[in-house]
């Protein structure tokens, strides 16, 4: 099957190739958007075959610098590098890295005010001075039913061009038990890798948590036989708090190292904000903690 694309009824574009699904949105001069979309589409078709060539390396734990031929693969390695003291394979940043690679075509057009590429929840942004994006957060897996549990405003003056969310319910597997960890970082790949690792750190042991070796659930997973979360029952509030605190302290460390800008951790009605205060981020509380 070849890459396919469709314009959605609301004007956004859907690009699809194998495991990659992108939702692309852009505001600005129509000709500039058309140029960017065309360039993006051409590049999009190359990205997957490129990654496949180096897939075996990208699935291995990151321990040393591998020279990667694909620019997207290099983005993945770069984004995962700060986490190399723990178990991480470059694949942890694949979604964000693809989004980053393709948003560059929109950023290159001065007449495009703002653009976003959402790769399965990992979002690369382009914002010109004065522009903002309003991002809603949903921690239910069924987004058609879920009410946004909060939203934040990203304006161009913030050093944020990537938003990523990870959790055990998502399409990727998680070692942790967080409903969702949303990370704001300078690019989508960094946010993607950090969200994965922070979500892994949100963890406790409890009977209500079911786990299974990753390679019994999915073939060729980069997680090997590590135990991944398959179900999380209702946990005592104190355990939820402990798990969130563990995740928040890892997020705090990443914040201190300049790897991320902010993180929002959610689990069973509780949450932690790391980095900016809710006022600075403009986070609106919609649910009772």
């Amino acid at each position: 099957m070849q890459p396919q694309r469709q314009q959605l009824l609301d004007g956004r574009w859907h690009f699809h190739y194998g495991p990659i699904d992108l939702i692309i949105n852009a505001d600005g001069d129509a000709n500039a958007i058309e140029r960017a979309l065309s360039a993006c589409w051409l590049r999009f078709a190359q990205v997957l075959p490129e990654l496949v060539e180096e897939l075996s390396v990208l699935r291995q734990p990151l321990r040393q610098v591998h020279w990667m031929a694909s620019p997207v693969a290099r983005r993945m390695v770069r984004a995962c590098w700060p986490h190399r003291s723990q178990f991480i394979a470059p694949m942890a940043a694949v979604a964000g890295a693809v989004a980053d690679e393709l948003i560059s075509f929109f950023a290159a057009e001065p007449a495009i005010r703002r653009a976003s590429i959402n790769n399965g929840g990992d979002i690369a942004l382009h914002l010109q001075a004065g522009q903002v994006y309003n991002v809603g957060m949903v921690s239910e897996s069924d987004t058609t039913k879920a009410e946004p549990q909060g939203s934040f405003v990203i304006d161009a003056s913030m050093p944020i061009r990537g938003v990523a969310t990870s959790g055990w319910r998502g399409r990727s597997m998680s070692l942790g038990i967080a409903d969702s960890v949303t990370v704001l970082a300078d690019c989508a790949a960094s946010a993607d890798a950090a969200a994965t690792m922070i979500a892994n750190a949100v963890n406790v042991q409890h009977m209500a948590i079911q786990r299974a070796p990753a390679n019994t659930l999915k073939d060729d997973t980069d997680l090997g036989d590590l135990l991944v979360t398959t179900a999380v029952g209702r946990l005592p509030a104190a355990l939820v708090a402990q798990a969130l605190d563990d995740g928040a302290s890892y997020a705090q460390r990443l914040r201190g190292e300049g790897v991320i800008f902010a993180a929002v951790l959610m689990m069973q009605g509780q949450r932690r904000l790391v980095g900016q205060t809710s006022d600075q981020l403009g986070i609106q509380r919609r649910y009772a903690a």
């Binding site: 469709q6 959605l8 009824l9 997957l48 073939d219």
Partner: protein, 536 residues
């Protein structure tokens, strides 16, 4: 996607060959790249990742899974469903006389007055929208769905075609001059089609096509492909005709010509308008001129006026006289009265012959749509002077307006189902072609009835408005992706050398696949099961 040249054998001999040679073992999938793949795994070749998927698991994309050793798609299918609460609705959909035309349908039903649709399956139809395709491999189409209706087993072969050879034929209801025949049509500066013939009350355009998709520059192909997708998905596109008008075209909507939305088609040419309304004007007027870019009509000289025994008014028209009361080329084509460039209707009158004309004579001038109309009375010097239109005349002008149907842009998708796509349906592609030509196989696109052109190949034409929303996509070739389904009786499918081992019952498909249901709400479209193809 090449067509074939001639058809020299029919499906009558299909039985002799239908049992495919068993000594050739056709692989379900290409051999795995890795020699040491475990026996319980299958290699998915839907994308370059080439996942090796263990039984019971899905690949990296979560769109394909290994279900009992078979590569299975888990993406949602688009189903058409129609309301099946009361059988009366079904009866209405298939009138009794039509039932009799259906081969074997009346025979199978003991009571032809009542169509007994059993089970829910009859109310669902699997469309090719998003079904995916196996192109360019000679693999069976993604879905072969069997369903039972009145005891007869039907099969629908569902696929998405990748069409390089395809275009849109667009009918713009307008009398306005859009541009010269054969003029290029541009979209975002690229040539994407051309103006073809003017038809009655409308202008035909041809948009897209293989020479723009893959025959020109890369940019031309890309822009053409995007324009086609947007047009097919019922959205608006901006077009510019070289030496002509700028258009905004959207299926089922009024076309916008040079920024002005078209409102009505003309009731007929000027001469026809004279003929239609002559009796209603009679007694209220001494002369009527119906201004038209094609044939301007003059009542007193026209056959209609002669039959009413009206005296000649002595009007002297510009333009070239055709037959009495009919004038060609009274003005240039344009955006004014009746598709001419006339803003003041008196510009097309040279004067009045004093031999026939007399002061006080009443003159109506109107366009073929009634959008423009004016009333004049001749003064002592036989000059027409504007005056208030009498209500009796006004009423007839309003009737012209009433008879002008709303102007619309209608968009038909025209495509050829080529060899590779047909091979996904049957061993011997030409048998599929023949079965359609023999009215054995019904062709639909996204469930919408497809007109099948006469002659060779499977060249189909379908109104995009009857198709589900967002039916069209594209691939980088560039080429257009569109749904196509072939429905026939199961026994016919067997005779055609169909891929019988891939046929799955509708219920199983619906239960096993994730699905997205679209209501069958298009009036006047046939329900795709039990139809004869619309043959040219």
């Amino acid at each position: 996607m090449t067509g074939h040249n001639r058809v020299d054998h029919s499906a009558d001999h299909a039985d002799e060959f239908a049992s495919a040679p068993n000594d050739v073992r056709v692989l379900d999938k290409s051999r795995p790249r890795s020699e040491n793949m475990a026996a319980n795994k299958i290699e998915c070749n839907a994308c370059p990742v080439l996942c090796q998927i263990t039984e019971g698991r899905s690949g990296a994309c979560d769109r394909y899974a290994n279900v009992q050793g078979i590569l299975t798609r888990v993406d949602p299918l688009v189903l058409l469903s129609r309301i099946n609460d009361q059988s009366t609705i079904e009866q209405k959909d298939i009138p009794p006389q039509q039932q009799l035309q259906h081969r074997d349908l009346s025979a199978a039903s003991s009571n032809t007055q009542e169509v007994n649709l059993t089970g829910e399956s009859a109310a669902l139809f699997v469309t090719g929208v998003g079904a995916g395709t196996t192109y360019p491999d000679y693999k069976p189409a993604p879905f072969m769905v069997s369903s039972k209706l009145n005891g007869i087993d039907m099969v629908t072969v569902v696929t998405e075609g990748i069409f390089s050879y395809c275009s849109f034929k667009v009918k713009i209801d307008t009398d306005r001059y859009l541009g010269p025949e054969r003029a290029s049509i541009r979209h975002r500066g690229e040539e994407v089609g051309h103006v073809t013939t003017a038809e009655y009350g409308s202008q035909m355009l041809s948009l897209g096509g293989v020479h723009h998709l893959t025959g020109g520059s890369k940019k031309e192909g890309r822009v053409t492909c995007e324009m086609m997708m947007v047009l097919g998905n019922k959205q608006a596109v901006e077009l510019e005709i070289e030496g002509g008008a700028k258009l905004v075209v959207q299926a089922g909507r009024a076309p916008i010509v040079d920024g002005v939305e078209e409102k009505h088609m003309r009731v007929g040419c000027g001469s026809a308008t004279i003929g239609i309304f002559a009796k209603q004007w009679f007694g209220h007027v001494d002369e009527v001129v119906v201004v038209d870019d094609h044939i301007t009509g003059v009542l007193s000289e026209h056959q209609a006026g002669r039959c009413l025994d009206m005296p000649l008014s002595g009007i002297k028209m510009k333009g070239r006289k055709s037959t009495p009361g009919r004038y060609f080329q009274v003005a240039n084509p344009g955006q004014g009265w009746g598709g001419t460039d006339i803003a003041n209707p008196l510009d097309i009158i040279e004067g009045f012959d004093p031999e026939h004309a007399r002061p006080g004579m009443r003159l109506l001038m109107t366009s073929t749509t009634g959008e423009h109309a004016a009333w004049f009375v001749l003064d002592e010097q036989l000059h027409p002077v504007p005056a208030a239109m009498p209500s009796a005349v006004q009423k007839v002008v309003e009737r012209i307006v009433e008879n002008c149907e709303p102007s619309l842009a209608s968009v038909l998708f025209l495509a050829g189902a080529g060899g590779s796509l047909r091979a996904g349906v049957t061993d011997n592609p030409v048998w599929l072609t023949n079965s359609i030509k023999q009215a054995i196989t019904y062709v639909s696109c996204g469930g919408a009835p497809a007109y099948v052109w006469a002659g060779g190949g499977i060249t189909v034409m379908v109104d995009v408005l009857r198709m589900p929303d967002q039916s069209f996509g594209s691939v980088p070739t560039p080429a257009i992706v569109a749904p196509i389904e072939f429905t026939m009786r199961f026994d016919d499918y067997a005779r055609l050398g169909g891929h019988l081992d891939c046929v799955r019952p509708l219920d199983e498909v619906v239960n096993a696949e994730r699905e997205r249901s679209v209501h069958w709400a298009v009036d006047h479209s046939h329900w795709p099961l039990f139809q004869k193809p619309m043959l040219g």
